[in-house]
C-alpha cells in the first residue's frame, strides 16, 4: 500500500506558543512532518502562531501562516489555500482540538478536506473520558474506577461512593490543567469546579486514586494495514500521582519482569488496534507493584512530549514515520533512517539507559507552590544517555544548569534526620534530592520507600551514588576513581569530595545510538558519552565547527535559541563545514540526528564539553546562538584552545562586566541609567538612596532578568537583597536608577567593519516590564525619526567598540527625550526568529557568514538600517500562570512568559489584534464588564481608559477611591467592595463571573499578602483576562474598537513577504 496519490496539498497545524505542557517537542514533530511530506512532493501549508519555530521557516513548508490558532483563522486559510487534507496529530493537543472542531462543525466535509491519519471517531473515543472508558470495557482492558461528571454535586457523590482520595481530571485540557488529587471533601470543592470550568466540554473525570502504583508508558505505532509496533517503554521513577511531564522518567522500563512487560505491551497494542490508530500513539498504564493488576490511565492518539522523548531515546523518528503512515505507507515500506538498511517495522532495542529530568520554573518563581501532582508545572526537560542508571541520572541533573553536580542541594544539607523523614512525604521538585539527603543522614531504604513509594530498584541506585560520594570523602583509593566515573561523577566533584587532585584523568569515550543495540551497522551519527575503552566516533576529514545548543526550555531561554542553533548548523553546512552539535534537550529540532553532521547528546557543562573537545578537536566553536547557556561556556572553550568564532571571549565578557561596560559606554559617549555595584544589603540601601527611588535591583550575569526587581523603597531593597543572596553570588549585585520610559530594542549583524540592522522594535509597555514579557512592535509606530537615528548611531558605536562579529542585541530606553542604553547582549536573542521572518533577512545565516569572515557588503542585504517592511509585526507574550499556583502575575523586570505569538499584517491595528487573539486573550466585546483597580499614580491615566471602555459599552467597576476618581472625571462607574469589606466583595464578584476583564496595576512592593495579588491570582484561576499594564489595556481597547467595527481580517502567507 504505497502513498495515497490523491494527497497533493496538506495543511499542518502547529501547536502555538510554548506553554507549560506544550513545548518545543511539537516544533520537532511538526518540522519532521513537513519534511516528510515534502519528500513525497506534497505541498505543505503550515499554520502556527509561534514565530520562534523552525517549522514556520520558509524552507520547511511551502506556505506559512503565522496566524492565530483558532477555528476562524483556520477556516480563512483553508478557504484560501484549498488543501485536500489536514494532518491533525502532529500539533499537540492544540492542533488536534482545532482539527476536531473543524471536523465536528462539518466544515472539513463541506470543503472536501480529509483528516489524515487516525480517524475522527478514534480520536473522539480516545479523548472523551466516557467513550474511552466504555471502549476499554468492551475490549476487556481495565481502567481505574472513574466517572465523568459535569457538576460538582455528581463529583462529590461519586467520590463518596469510591472513597477519597480521588483524582480530578478535566477533559480536553493540556498537561492536566485544572486537575488535582482531592484527599477530602474540602479539596474536591476547590479542584472540581475549577476543572469543570477549564474543560472545553465542561466535564471532569473523578477517578480512584492509584497513587504509588508504577507509572509505565508505551510509545506505539500502527499503520492503516494493521501492523503495530512498540517503539519504547518508559517508566516513571515517580510513581503514579505525579504528572508524567513532571516525573523523572527512565527508558526503557527498568523494573518490569518480561511477563509484566509483555502484558503491558500486548495491552498497548491491543488498545491501538481496537481503537484503529493510524500513526503514533502514547499509552499510559498504572501497574500495581504488588500484583499483576494494571489499569490503563490514558491514551494520546497523537505524537506527544513522550514521543519526542522516545524518538530521541531510541533514534526512531516517530513523527516522520507517523506522517508517512498518514499519507498511506505501511510500516514495512518505510526505511529505518538510522540503519539505512532495515525497515521502520521493528521494535527499537537499546543498549543504554535514558533518563529524562523535568526543568521547573521554580528558580524564577520563588514563591510558587512547588508541589507536584496531576497538573504539569515543568517548562522543559533534559535527557541524558549513559550505560548505567546512576550515570544517566547524574548527567541529567547537571544538564538542568542549576549547579547540581552530585544530587545535593545545599539548603537540604542543614536538615536533620527527623526533618528529612517528614520531608520525604512532600512530593515536590526537590524530592529526589531529599531522598539522597535522607540517605546521607542514614535513613533506611525501607523507610524512604514507604514514604515515597519510589521503587527500591531506583532507591538502591541512588544509594550507590551517595555511598560512593561518602567513599570519595575519605580520599581517592585504588579503583575508586574509575568506579566514580562509571557512576557519572565529574572530575570536579571527585576532586572536591576527596580533596585530592586527580593524577591520571579518564576521558570519555562515545557510543552510538542506533535503534538496534549494534545488531546492524548504523550510519546515524548520534553519540553519547560513557567511560569505556572503546569509542565509536569517527574523526572526519573536513574542517569542523562545534555548535552549542541552549539546553532545556526555561523561562527566559526558549525555543528561539534552538531556532538559532539549527540555522547556524544549516549555514555552516552550506559553507562546507562539518557540523557538530551538543545539546541535552530531547524536545528540539537541534537534537534530531538529521540536523547536524554529528549529534552529541550531552550536558552543556564545562567538563562534558571538555571531553567532547578532546575527541573531536573542532576547528572552532559557535557560542552566540545557544543563548546564555552557550555564552556561559565561552571561557571553557577558549581555555581548551578552541577558537571562539565571532565576537571574542574578551568582548563577550566586556558586555557583561559592569565596570568594563561602563568604560566602553563612557568612551562612546553613550548614556546609561546611573547605577552602582554592591554586595551587601547595607551597600544596596546606600546606593538606592544616592540614586533615588525607584531603582532596579539585579544580580549580574543572569538570564531573562532572573532575580531582577524594581524597588520603590527600602523595604523592597531589603527583601530583594535577601532573595538574591539566598544563592551565593560570585558577581556583584547591580543597583540602577530605574527610568520609566519606553523601551526600544535592536538586533544587529556585524562583520567587524559594517553592520546591518534588520529592524528596530519598540515595546508597547513602558520600561519596567521585561523585554520578553512586553508586546514588541516592528517597525516602531511611535518612535520619531531622530531617535531612530540615535539608536542606529549608538548601535554602530557599541558594536564597533565591542568588536562584535555576528549578532548583537541591544536594549534602549527613551526617557525625557534622551536615549539610554540598558543592556547589550553579544549574542542572538529572542527576537531574531521573528524579525528574520518579517524582514526576510536570514539573520542567523548572515551572522554566521560574518563569523566565518565574510563581509556584509558582499552578502546582498546591504548595511545600516534595512528598509522598513510593508508588514507590521506584533509579538505578544504568552504566560502559563494557570499552571503555577501562587505566582505573581503582574509584569515586572523579571521575565514570566513561557512563549510568544506573532500578529502580522500591513495594518498595525490588525497585526496587534491578531497578536492578542493568538495569545489566547479572550477579548470581551458585547455586554462586557470591566473591573479597574489601579495604584494612585495611575488613576488619571486609568480614567482615560475607563472612559474609552465606557464609550465602547462596558460597564465599569472600581473600588471606592478609584470609582470616585473616575466619576469625578465623568465616567459612570459602579463601586465594588474591597476584599474583606463585606459579602460580595471583589473576589466574590469575580467568582460569580461578573467581570469579563480586569485591569489592575500592582501596588508597590512584592508582598504577596496584598489584595491585588489575590485578585490577580483569582483572575487567572477563573480565566478572566487580567491586564497589569495600562499600555496593554490601551492596546486591548484598540482591538475592541476593531472588533466592534466588524472589519474583515486578512491572512498573510509569510513566504510571500
Amino acid at each position: 500500500m504505497p502513498k495515497n496519490s490523491n494527497i497533493k496539498k496538506v495543511m499542518v497545524i502547529g501547536s502555538g506558543p510554548i506553554i507549560i505542557g506544550q513545548a518545543a517537542e511539537f516544533d520537532y514533530a511538526g518540522t519532521q512532518a513537513c519534511t516528510a511530506l515534502k519528500e513525497e512532493n506534497i505541498e505543505v501549508v503550515l499554520v502556527n502562531s509561534n514565530p520562534a519555530t523552525i517549522m514556520t521557516d520558509k524552507n520547511i513548508a511551502d506556505k506559512v501562516y503565522i496566524e492565530p490558532l483558532n477555528v476562524d483563522f483556520l477556516k480563512k486559510i483553508i478557504i484560501k489555500e484549498r488543501p485536500d487534507s489536514i494532518l491533525p496529530t502532529l500539533g499537540g493537543q492544540t492542533g488536534l482540538n482545532l482539527a476536531m472542531e473543524l471536523a465536528e462543525q462539518g466544515f472539513l466535509e463541506e470543503q472536501n478536506v480529509t483528516l489524515l491519519g487516525t480517524k475522527v471517531e478514534t480520536i473522539k473515543t480516545a479523548e472523551d473520558r466516557q467513550l474511552f472508558k466504555d471502549k476499554m470495557e468492551e475490549i476487556c482492558q481495565p481502567c481505574i474506577a472513574s466517572k465523568v461528571v459535569d457538576s460538582y454535586k455528581d463529583a462529590l457523590d461519586f467520590a463518596l461512593e469510591i472513597g477519597f482520595p480521588v483524582i480530578v481530571r478535566p477533559a480536553y485540557t493540556l498537561g492536566g490543567t485544572g486537575g488535582g488529587i482531592a484527599y477530602n471533601e474540602a479539596d474536591l470543592e476547590q479542584i472540581a469546579p475549577n476543572g469543570l470550568r477549564l474543560s472545553r466540554v465542561h466535564q471532569v473525570l473523578i477517578e480512584r486514586c492509584v497513587s504509588g502504583w508504577k507509572e509505565i508508558e508505551f510509545e506505539v505505532m500502527r499503520d492503516a494495514k494493521g501492523n503495530a509496533i512498540t517503539i519504547c517503554s518508559m517508566e516513571n521513577v515517580d510513581p503514579v500521582g505525579v504528572h508524567t511531564g513532571d516525573s523523572i522518567v527512565v527508558a526503557p522500563a527498568q523494573t518490569l519482569s518480561d511477563k509484566e512487560f509483555q502484558m503491558l505491551r500486548n495491552a498497548a497494542l491491543i488498545i491501538i488496534t481496537e481503537l484503529g490508530i493510524e500513526g503514533g500513539c502514547n499509552v499510559q498504564f498504572a501497574l500495581d507493584p504488588k500484583s499483576l493488576e494494571y489499569a490503563v490511565i490514558e491514551v494520546n492518539p497523537r505524537v506527544s512530549r513522550s514521543s519526542a522523548l522516545a524518538s530521541k531515546a531510541t533514534g526512531y523518528p516517530i513523527a516522520k514515520v507517523a506522517t508517512k503512515i498518514a499519507v498511506g505507507y505501511r510500516l514495512d515500506e518505510i526505511i529505518n533512517a538510522v540503519t539505512g538498511s532495515t525497515y521502520a517495522c521493528f521494535e527499537p532495542t537499546i543498549d543504554y539507559v535514558v533518563v529524562k529530568f523535568p526543568r521547573w520554573p521554580f528558580d524564577k518563581f520563588v514563591r510558587a507552590k512547588r508541589l507536584l501532582g496531576t497538573q504539569m508545572k515543568a517548562t522543559g526537560e533534559v535527557m541524558a544517555i549513559e550505560v548505567s542508571f546512576e550515570a544517566a541520572l547524574m548527567k541529567a541533573a547537571r544538564s538542568l544548569e542549576l549547579g547540581i553536580y552530585n544530587l545535593q542541594l545545599s539548603h537540604l544539607k542543614k536538615m536533620d534526620k527527623d526533618a528529612l523523614a517528614k520531608q520525604l512525604f512532600v512530593i515536590d521538585d526537590e524530592r529526589i534530592f531529599v531522598v539522597a539527603e535522607a540517605m546521607r543522614k542514614e535513613i533506611e531504604i525501607s523507610e524512604i520507600h514507604s514514604a515515597t513509594k519510589i521503587d527500591t530498584f531506583f532507591l538502591y541506585k541512588l544509594k550507590n551514588i551517595v555511598e560512593t560520594e561518602q567513599k570519595l570523602r575519605q580520599g581517592l583509593k585504588d579503583g575508586l576513581y574509575a568506579e566514580a566515573k562509571k557512576l557519572g561523577f565529574t572530575d570536579a566533584v571527585i576532586e572536591r569530595l576527596s580533596g585530592q587532585k586527580i593524577k591520571n584523568r579518564a576521558y570519555a569515550s562515545y557510543k552510538l545510538v542506533d535503534t538496534c543495540a549494534a545488531e546492524f551497522e548504523a550510519g546515524a551519527p548520534y553519540y553519547y558519552s560513557t567511560f569505556d575503552n572503546c569509542s565509536e566516533h569517527s574523526a572526519g576529514g573536513r574542517k569542523k565547527m562545534l555548535v552549542l545548543g541552549s539546553g532545556p526550555i526555561r523561562i527566559g531561554q526558549g525555543i528561539e535559541f534552538d531556532y538559532c542553533s539549527v540555522h547556524s548548523v544549516w549555514a555552516l553546512r552550506e559553507e562546507g563545514y562539518e557540523t557538530i552539535i551538543a545539546n541535552c534537550n530531547p524536545e528540539t529540532v537541534s537534537t534530531d540526528f538529521d540536523t547536524a553532521d554529528k549529534l552529541y547528546f550531552e550536558p552543556l557543562t564545562p567538563e562534558d564539553i571538555e571531553h567532547l573537545v578532546k575527541v573531536e578537536n573542532p576547528d572552532g566553536a559557535i557560542v552566540q546562538f545557544g543563548g546564555q547557556t552557550a555564552i556561559g561556556l565561552t571561557k571553557t572553550l577558549s581555555n581548551l584552545g578552541v577558537a571562539i568564532m565571532g565576537t571574542s571571549e574578551e568582548n563577550i565578557d566586556a558586555a557583561e562586566d559592569r565596570e568594563k561596560f561602563d568604560k566602553i559606554l563612557e568612551k562612546c559617549g553613550i548614556p546609561r541609567p546611573a547605577g552602582k555595584t554592591v554586595f551587601t544589603k547595607d551597600e544596596a540601601l546606600e546606593a538606592a538612596k544616592e540614586l533615588g527611588y525607584p531603582v532596579l535591583v539585579r544580580p549580574s550575569y543572569v538570564l531573562g532578568g532572573q532575580g531582577m526587581e524594581i524597588a520603590f523603597n527600602d523595604y523592597d531593597v531589603v527583601e530583594f537583597m535577601e532573595i538574591i543572596n539566598r544563592v551565593k553570588q560570585e558577581h556583584p549585585i547591580l543597583i540602577d536608577k530605574y527610568l520609566l520610559g519606553r523601551e526600544i530594542e535592536v538586533d544587529a549583524i556585524c562583520d567587524g567593519d559594517d553592520l546591518l540592522i534588520p529592524g528596530i522594535m519598540e515595546h508597547l509597555e513602558r520600561a519596567g516590564v521585561h523585554s520578553g514579557d512586553s508586546i514588541s512592535v516592528y517597525p516602531p509606530q511611535r518612535l520619531q525619526r531622530k531617535f531612530q537615528d540615535v539608536i542606529v548611531e549608538y548601535t554602530t558605536k557599541l558594536a564597533k567598540a565591542l568588536n562584535v562579529v555576528g549578532l548583537v542585541n541591544i536594549q534602549f530606553v527613551l526617557y525625557d527625550d534622551e536615549i539610554y542604553v540598558i543592556e547589550v547582549n553579544p549574542r542572538s536573542s529572542r527576537t531574531v526568529p521573528y524579525i528574520s521572518k518579517v524582514t526576510n533577512i536570514p539573520m542567523v545565516d548572515l551572522a554566521l557568514k560574518c563569523v566565518l569572515g565574510k563581509k556584509l557588503k558582499d552578502l546582498g542585504y546591504g548595511t545600516g538600517l534595512y528598509k522598513e517592511s510593508d508588514y507590521k509585526a506584533v509579538k505578544v507574550p504568552v504566560f502559563s500562570f494557570e499552571k503555577l499556583h501562587d505566582v505573581e502575575t503582574s509584569l515586572g523586570p523579571e521575565m514570566k512568559s513561557t512563549g510568544e505569538v506573532l500578529g502580522i499584517s500591513k495594518d498595525f491595528g490588525e497585526a496587534l489584534y491578531k497578536g492578542l487573539v493568538a495569545s489566547g486573550l479572550k477579548i470581551p466585546t458585547e455586554n462586557a464588564s470591566v473591573l479597574i483597580t489601579v495604584r494612585d499614580t495611575d488613576k488619571d491615566e486609568a480614567a482615560k481608559i475607563a472612559k474609552e471602555l465606557y464609550n465602547l459599552g462596558f460597564i465599569v467597576y472600581a473600588t471606592e477611591n478609584t470609582a470616585n476618581h473616575f466619576i469625578s472625571k465623568g465616567v459612570n462607574t459602579r463601586t465594588v467592595l474591597k476584599i474583606g469589606e463585606g459579602s460580595l466583595d471583589i473576589l466574590d464578584m469575580m467568582q460569580a463571573q461578573q467581570f469579563d476583564l480586569v485591569i489592575n496595576t500592582p501596588t508597590k512592593g512584592r508582598r504577596t499578602e496584598r489584595d491585588g495579588f489575590k485578585m490577580r491570582r483569582r483572575a487567572v484561576e477563573l480565566s478572566i483576562p487580567c491586564l497589569t499594564s495600562l499600555d496593554t489595556a490601551a492596546a486591548v481597547i484598540k482591538c475592541v474598537q476593531r472588533m466592534k467595527s466588524n472589519a474583515e481580517t486578512s491572512i498573510v502567507d509569510i513566504t510571500k513577504i
Binding site: 494493521g226 522500563a253 500486548n266 521494535e347
Partner: protein
C-alpha cells in the same frame, strides 16, 4: 572476585565474576531483548552457548519460580555489563546472581557489551570462555565442541500437560522446548504429551494423537539425522505437524531442503516477519543461527509462507503434500492482527480436519 572473558583470538577482557566460579566455554551469542533474561537463560535453545545481553542492566527484577522456560538454567555462561545487586519485584524469589551461582552458571559483568556485540556482528562466529581461573589456557576454546545438543536438553521421559478433557491430543517432540509453547498449546484446548526427541515414530503414530509439534531447540540441525528420519516417517502418515525453530529446520531437512549457518544470528524480541499470504508484518521473538536456504525450498513441495523483512531469510514454510507448516520464530499467542497466535489456530484447524477424516 575477578573473572575473565577470553575470546578465541586470544583477546582478554577483565571483569567481575557474576555467577558460579569455574570456566564456561562456548560460542558467544548476543541477545538484544531488554527484558526476559530469566526466560533466555532457561531456554534450552541456548544450551551450551554463552549468552551476552546487549541491554546493560540485567537482573533488575531478580528470578522468580514461574517464568523459567525449562526446569533449569541452560545457557553455558552469561555476559552482562551490570548485574543488579538489589533487584526488586513482587514475584522475585532470589537475585539473578544467587541463581547463577546455585545453578553453576559462570557469568561475568563489567564488560563493554556493545563493543563485544560489534565484534560478533563483524566476525559472525565468536567462541570464547568466561573463567575465574587466572591460568586458563586459550587452547581449550578451540578444543571445545558442542555435539548432541538435542540429546542433552530433551526430556528423559514423556509427560503430559493439560487436562484429559481437552479437545485435541498433541504430541510435542521435545527438541529443547520452551515451557511457554506447551502452555500456549494448552490454552488452545490441547492436551500435550511431551516426548523425548528420539522417541520412535511408531510410538507417536500409534499414540492416537491429533497432531505433532516439533519444538524449538539447540544446535546444528544437520547433526540430527535420526530425528530427521523419524520426521520423514511422520510426514508419510499425514498427521498435522507444526514445526517451531529447530523443529522448522528439521522439517525442511526431512523434506529435502537445505539449511545453513547464518552470517548473523537472530536472537532477540524485535524481528519483523512478513506473512506472505496477506503482507502483514509481525514482530517476533527469535533465537536461531541456522536458517533454511530459501533457494532450496522446492516450490512443488512447499511455499515460503513467512520471510524476514530485513534480511529476507526464510521464517516460515507451508507444506503442500501434507498438513504441516513450520516457523523459524517463536509464535506468539494472541489472536490479534499484530501477533502470530493465528499459527496455533491454524494448527488446531488442521487437527480438526484430521480428526474428521
Amino acid at each position: 572476585m575477578k573473572a575473565f572473558l577470553v575470546l578465541d583470538d586470544g583477546t582478554i577482557f577483565e571483569g567481575i565474576s557474576a555467577g558460579a566460579q569455574g570456566t564456561a566455554i562456548g560460542e558467544i551469542v548476543f541477545n538484544t531483548s531488554m527484558t526476559g533474561y530469566q526466560e533466555i537463560i532457561t531456554d534450552p535453545s541456548n544450551w551450551g552457548q554463552i549468552v551476552l545481553m546487549t541491554y546493560p542492566l540485567i537482573g533488575n527484577y531478580g528470578i522468580n519460580d514461574q517464568d523459567g522456560e525449562s526446569g533449569k538454567a541452560q545457557a553455558g555462561g552469561l555476559i552482562v555489563r551490570e548485574l543488579c545487586k538489589e533487584p526488586s519485584n513482587h514475584r522475585m524469589t532470589q537475585p539473578l546472581g544467587d541463581y547463577l551461582k546455585e545453578s553453576g552458571i559462570v557469568a561475568i559483568e563489567g564488560i563493554d557489551t556493545r563493543q563485544l556485540t560489534k565484534e560478533i556482528r563483524k566476525r559472525g562466529v565468536v567462541k570464547g570462555a568466561i573463567t575465574t581461573d587466572c591460568d586458563f589456557d586459550v587452547k581449550r576454546i578451540d578444543e571445545n565442541k558442542v555435539t548432541d545438543a538435542v540429546r542433552a536438553v530433551t526430556c528423559k521421559k514423556q509427560y503430559q500437560v493439560g487436562c484429559d478433557t481437552a479437545k485435541y491430543n498433541v504430541a510435542l517432540i521435545d527438541l529443547g522446548t520452551k515451557k511457554s509453547v506447551i502452555t500456549t498449546l494448552t490454552e488452545f484446548e490441547c492436551k500435550v504429551t511431551v516426548m523425548p526427541a528420539y522417541t520412535a515414530p511408531k510410538t507417536i503414530i500409534e499414540g492416537g494423537f491429533d497432531g505433532v509439534v516439533l519444538s524449538g531447540g539447540p544446535g546444528n540441525p544437520k547433526e540430527c539425522n535420526e530425528i530427521i528420519e523419524n520426521i520423514k516417517e511422520l510426514q508419510k502418515t499425514g498427521i498435522p505437524i507444526f514445526g517451531i525453530g529447530l523443529g522448522h529446520l528439521l522439517m525442511a531437512l526431512a523434506s529435502g531442503f537445505d539449511t545453513e549457518r547464518m552470517a548473523n544470528a537472530h536472537n532477540g524480541a524485535n524481528y519483523p516477519v512478513v506473512r506472505a499470504e496477506n503482507g502483514a508484518s509481525h514482530i517476533t521473538v527469535q533465537n536461531h543461527k541456522y536458517v533454511v536456504l530459501s533457494k532450496s525450498v522446492d516450490k512443488e513441495k512447499a511455499d515460503i509462507t513467512h520471510y524476514n523483512l530485513n534480511d529476507n531469510s526464510v521464517e516460515g514454510i507451508g507444506y503442500k503434500k501434507f498438513a504441516a507448516f513450520s516457523v523459524q520464530f517463536y509464535p506468539g499467542k494472541l489472536l490479534q492482527p499484530f501477533d502470530t497466535g493465528y499459527l496455533f489456530l491454524e494448527f488446531v484447524k488442521y487437527m480438526k480436519a484430521y480428526k474428521k477424516s
